[in-house]
């Protein structure tokens, strides 16, 4: 028997960034680890920055960071597959989070290297060691949360343009940085355009592009808009 698949069925509520239930989780192979990190990324990487965080974590990225020592060696091997655990998941999430804050790989290495699970959790902003504080409901919090729900969340689309320097992809180090422009189409929907992107002049191709974008939005987990 080569593989014992360890299922990853832990569900996170949308706003719940508590990783408590994943402490004992094992991931067989870089794919499982990167999938899990990709699933959790939204909780830990600020929304605005996500476009610049390079891509969603993938298998290649895990191998790249592993070979560079940013991610610790696997816990063990299962056949040909490396077995990763909670520490690796945290390392991967922290790297992505710090990249989103535009820290250099060198700085990230300084911050991540040798850090314990607890230290990594802190870098992610997870509540550490203080039981019950997540339930610390009080009048002030309730009041503030009610304000957040009332307040208009719209940012003027014209104001939301900025250039983001793209971090070089880890596996193509040395590629020149390209600027991306972020445009908010409407609240919750952003478009990122690389500086060298050219829109096709062909009308049919434009239509296809539009349909692809709509399909992407439709497939994005949320029920399609009516």
């Amino acid at each position: 028997m080569l593989l014992t698949v360890i299922s990853v069925f832990c569900k996170l509520r949308p706003m719940d960034s508590n990783l408590e239930s994943l402490r004992e989780q094992k991931y067989v192979g870089a794919v499982q680890l990167s999938d899990e990190a990709a699933r959790l990324l939204a909780h830990f990487v600020p929304k605005q920055e996500r476009g610049s965080v390079t891509e969603v974590p993938d298998e290649r990225m895990v191998r790249y960071y592993s070979s560079g020592g940013l991610i610790s060696p696997p816990e063990s091997k299962q056949g040909v597959s490396a077995v990763y655990g909670y520490l690796h998941l945290l390392q991967l999430l922290v790297i992505k989070r710090l990249q989103a804050e535009h820290l250099s790989i060198r700085k990230i290495r300084e911050l991540v290297e040798g850090r314990t699970e607890r230290g990594l959790e802190q870098l992610l902003g997870l509540e550490v060691g203080e039981a019950g504080s997540a339930d610390n409901r009080n009048a002030a919090t309730e009041y503030l949360e009610s304000l957040l729900h009332q307040s208009p969340k719209t940012a003027p689309a014209h104001a939301a343009r900025l250039a983001l320097a793209e971090e070089p992809a880890p596996y193509s180090a040395g590629v020149a940085k390209r600027a991306w422009t972020r445009v908010e189409i409407e609240p919750g929907l952003e478009l990122h355009i690389r500086e060298d992107y050219c829109l096709t002049s062909d009308a049919k191709a434009k239509l296809r592009l539009g349909r692809r974008i709509l399909t992407e939005i439709d497939n994005h987990g949320n029920p399609p808009r009516k």
């Binding site: 600020p46 804050e101 902003g125 009048a139 002030a140 919090t141 969340k153 940012a155 900025l162």
Partner: protein
């Protein structure tokens, strides 16, 4: 039982005696004297959120200094304190969730990467910082949001009255707000009332290089804080009328004056103008009950302490009264508070476009202060006041940046009336 941290009340009259048989107006100086710093051994733990504006206008030295000041702040905190960092432009990000101050270097590294970007979602930034603090509220801690901005709120809730009243509502629920306005483009008519309602402090950064000193002073003030939600009640006796409270404190719905938080070692001076009735010479008469109420910093938020202080005056013959000396402390306090009001009047003139009238008010006030306080010119506060008034007048004369002068006047007036902690050198 009086706690070790309880303030005392002293009431000082202009002269020790009042003229008998005559109704008269007079000023009473109420000094609220907290214990000295040495007497307060326990430093409250701090639960702070640094809410930093990274809108486009912060670009350059401002964002650099703001980052430095925030890093400085992190350095000053103790491991038992909590801190979170929220940055906002048109969107709001929690850069650092509320946590104990342990990984200083990691936190500072992240602050040092904050870049100036878009427009100013001040309200949502403030609310987000508030949540970081409120979720970690504990009894005895100073729970505070430090909001730093250089611009006008232009995303989300932008109405001044709404923002101010929300800061008040939040303070009533235990989280206070201090505001730090940078430069000359923000709205001081928002940031000062927001800090007042929010029971924190309002600071003006005239030069980006002042930012660290302001953070230092704010932090020191938080550590020295011994009481919050402080109110002053005045109950006049028969025939006595309270005409004015020169500090222009806000009045609560129960008719009490809202005082700033009390800091160890920093007395607060309140001047009350009263009309006292005609009483025969030789009589002692209770004119007023002063009632101070506060929440001690080191106690559960429900603990409220009250101190009552009756004020009794003595009447005598006119000649005898004439022979007594005027108390310089009352004169100085009155002059400084009147000079605070003069600035408000100058602002009104400036807003209506009459720079000449504004200048005349400042010049006239400088003369009045110098005359009335002539015997006390060695006093640091008097010297500083005369210097500041001269500087304001000169700025309006030279037609420098009236927006900046207006801000200086607003903040000086605010500082004088509540005797803000002077900036650390």
């Amino acid at each position: 039982m009086t706690r070790k941290t309880s303030p005392n009340i002293e009431v000082i009259t202009e002269r020790p005696l009042f003229i008998g048989g005559k109704e008269q107006s007079t000023n009473l100086l109420v000094r609220i004297v907290p214990p000295t710093v040495d007497a307060v051994t326990k430093r409250p733990s701090l639960n702070l959120s640094l809410v930093l504006d990274r809108s486009g206008s912060m670009e350059g030295e401002k964002i650099v200094r703001a980052r430095e000041a925030a890093c400085y702040c992190i350095d000053q905190l103790m491991p038992s304190d909590r801190v979170s960092v929220v940055v906002f432009d048109d969107v709001v990000d929690v850069l650092l969730q509320s946590q104990p101050v342990e990984n200083r270097e990691a936190t500072k590294e992240r602050i040092s990467h904050i870049q100036a970007r878009n427009s100013t979602a001040l309200h949502q930034g403030w609310v987000t910082g508030g949540i970081q603090v409120s979720k970690e509220m504990t009894d005895g801690a100073v729970n505070r949001v430090l909001l730093l901005t250089d611009g006008l709120a232009n995303v989300g809730v932008t109405n001044v009255d709404t923002l101010v009243s929300q800061a008040g509502e939040l303070a009533a629920r235990g989280v206070s707000t201090s505001t730090i306005g940078v430069g000359s483009s923000f709205n001081e008519d928002l940031l000062i009332p927001m800090a007042e309602a929010g029971r924190g402090n309002a600071w003006h950064v005239e030069k980006p290089s002042d930012m660290e000193r302001i953070f230092a002073t704010e932090l020191e003030g938080l550590i020295e804080q011994i009481a919050h939600t402080v109110s002053l009640g005045l109950t006049p006796a028969d025939g006595v009328r309270v005409q004015d409270v020169l500090n222009d404190f806000e009045v609560t719905h129960t008719g009490r004056y809202k005082l700033p938080n009390l800091r160890a070692g920093s007395p607060l001076e309140v001047v009350i103008s009263v009309k006292v009735p005609a009483r025969p010479a030789g009589e002692r008469y209770k004119v007023l009950d002063v009632r101070l109420a506060w929440n001690p910093q080191d106690a559960p938020s429900s603990d409220r302490e009250i101190l009552s202080h009756p004020v009794t005056i003595e009447y005598a013959g006119a000649e005898e009264v004439e022979r007594t000396a005027l108390d310089g402390r009352v004169t100085k306090a009155v002059q400084l508070l009147m000079a605070a009001r003069a600035r408000q009047e100058a602002i009104r003139q400036l807003d209506s476009g009459d720079i000449l009238a504004a200048r005349a008010i400042l010049g006239g006030t400088a003369q009045l202060v110098a005359q009335a306080c002539a015997p006390y010119m060695a006093d640091d506060r008097v010297k500083e006041e005369v210097r500041m008034l001269g500087e304001l007048e000169a700025e309006l004369f030279n037609l420098g940046d009236p927006k900046m002068t207006r801000k200086k006047m607003s903040y000086q007036s605010y500082d004088l009336s509540r005797q803000s902690k002077p900036l650390k050198k």
